[in-house]
């Protein structure tokens, strides 16, 4: 449904994001994980032309065989909201503070459908109910600042799904929320995706969150997709050194049988931090922070296939022991 090829996003002379190949088949939930500043948000936003004004997008993004890169703002606006919905990181800022909630939801419908007043109103109520907001009738008349963060994000989800889009882009939608509210939003997004067969592109720095919601996981480092594959494989059989480092830095990833190994142990940390845009080393961008560097890492890594939709870009990947408990290839 969505096919990204050689997508580059540049600000000034610096290329911030370059994604060679990323597909989202219809109805698939894809999670993109990466550190802050890794360009994951920029990737997601550039799909629908919501990148900052200063960013220049090149390459190809095809949505149901329609090229999106290079479309005018007017043409892209027709796609946004109707075919592709978007929700954002900070729900408190994402709603217009001076407009009633009901009108903001109605606007999303009106932009793509011509409905009479009463049916429009019914549709708004229906949407607010679908995102599990109680008392939708009185909520419509409220202003955003009169709502809690979780309610605001639910309103934004209602806005994003107003026209039954085929794909929902969710950029760190739970980051600004409490943990309890977070899980509610996550299960809502999963439910909507399953019920409506709606694809989901979920961006987060939190591998635990990504793992909860995704069928496919993409790992981004330094603006590049370094590993992509089925969620279980990427977590359990990571090939890229960065993915592995990310997994072992995250306590939430351990399943019950491995819990004992983690409790009481210090968590692994990835040494150093993501360099500034113009400071990335040549070749593999993870060079310098990686524990398994070899000579060829000075060359840009190529895409290797680990089987069954699992690809990675690493010169010295983690070897998978054949026949081991974690070898999912043998199992499938």
């Amino acid at each position: 449904m969505l096919e990204i090829r050689d997508l580059d996003v540049a600000i000034g002379r610096h290329t911030i994001v370059s994604v060679e190949r990323l597909d989202i088949p219809a109805g698939t939930r894809l999670g993109i994980v990466g550190e802050s500043g890794s360009g994951k948000t920029m990737t997601a936003m550039s799909i629908v032309g919501l990148q900052p004004n200063t960013a220049v997008v090149s390459g190809s993004v095809r949505f149901n065989d329609r090229e999106l890169v290079g479309l005018s703002d007017r043409r892209l606006a027709e796609v946004r909201g109707r075919d592709i919905g978007v929700i954002f990181q900070d729900p408190a800022k994402a709603l217009n503070p001076m407009m009633r909630v009901g009108r903001q939801v109605a606007e999303a419908i009106r932009l793509h459908m011509d409905l009479p007043r009463d049916r429009l109103r019914a549709r708004v109520l229906q949407l607010l109910t679908q995102v599990h907001l109680p008392d939708a009738r009185s909520l419509m008349r409220r202003y955003p600042h009169q709502l809690s963060g979780g309610q605001q994000q639910r309103v934004l989800i209602a806005i994003a799904i107003a026209c039954d889009p085929k794909l929902l882009i969710a950029d760190e939608p739970t980051t600004a929320l409490d943990v309890t509210v977070q899980s509610g939003i996550l299960s809502l997004l999963r439910e909507l995706s399953v019920e409506r067969k709606m694809g989901l592109l979920f961006v987060s720095h939190d591998l635990g969150v990504i793992q909860t919601i995704s069928e496919v996981i993409g790992v981004v480092y330094g603006g590049q997709l370094v590993e992509l594959g089925p969620a279980r494989r990427v977590i359990r059989q990571a090939r890229h050194r960065y993915t592995q480092a990310l997994v072992s830095a995250n306590p939430g990833i351990a399943d019950d049988e491995h819990l004992g190994e983690i409790v009481g142990r210090q968590l692994d940390v990835i040494p150093g931090s993501v360099p500034a845009l113009d400071r990335f080393p040549s070749g593999c961008r993870f060079r310098g922070r990686c524990s398994a560097e070899i000579a060829s890492c000075a060359q840009p890594p190529e895409i290797s296939v680990a089987g069954d939709g699992h690809i990675f870009k690493c010169w010295n990947p983690i070897e998978v022991v054949a026949g081991s408990e974690g070898d999912l290839d043998a199992a499938s």
């Binding site: 946004r80 954002f88 800022k93 217009n96 001076m98 407009m99 932009l111 806005i159």
Partner: protein, 321 residues
Amino acid sequence: MARVITRSVLSLVLAAFVGSMIVFGLLRSIGGNVAHVILGQYATPGALEALQEELGLNAPWYVQYFSWLGGVFTGDLGTSYSARFDIFDEILRRLGPTTLLAFGSLLISIPAALALGTYSAIQVKKLRGGVIDVASQIGIAIPAFWAGLIMVLVFGIRLGWFPTGGYISPFEDLVEAVKGLVLPTLALSLGITSVLTRYVRSAMLDVMGEDFIRTAMAKGRTRRGAARVHGVRNASVSLVTVGTLQLGALMAGTVVIENVFVIPGIGRLLVTSVLGREVIVVQSLILVILLMILVMNFLMDIAYVLIDPRIRDSQGGKAVA
């Protein structure tokens, strides 16, 4: 809402009261002997004495102040010394033209600034946006009286489209009244429009970076559509703030423009009264101008609340959980 209005009215009354004291105090402290100022340096002691008695200047200052203040409410501000008109009636008569001029200019400036500022913010990278930006710079630099004179020259004398001056009450002849007000109103609003345009422009540029603009675009608005529907209203909050600060300049401009276009308003009376050394008249005129600014200020306060629901909730005390 009612609470906000009550509070604004109270602060208006308080400000008017304090303002009247300052006006009275300033004029009495700089003028020396008021009768002397009015009669000039060749006045005889007998004439001075008689005028002081007539104006009540022999009473203590607080008696003078309160009798003046009382006069504001009872409609008795005394009589002009040399022109012999009733001051209260004359001010009432001249309030009309000034009010029309001042509010007319605001009614032009605010929408014009919103439109121009928004447009130049959206077209920020293009020539058209730049032209507005430069034009607004020039508009700020041009003095109102000069703009007025040029307009009289071009549209009044050369083209003959509008009268070059004078004033006709809209109750007498609406068409002629409007025609007469066009040039002075435009001349007066030029500077204010320019200042406000620049503020709207920078406010819009800020607002366009807000998340809710991105949300609007995600719904299917174009950047321009998002600016129109969601940007303008948010940017107008700062327009109201700056607009309030411009009210003083607006009234000062009214004084100048009334003299350029020979409009019998408060401003023209102020200038003739100052030249005629009519201290008593000047004192009441300044109070009237002060009151006009306070009333417009009050209206701006109300506008704030109407525009921004967050202010409504925080000030109106209507907490919604």
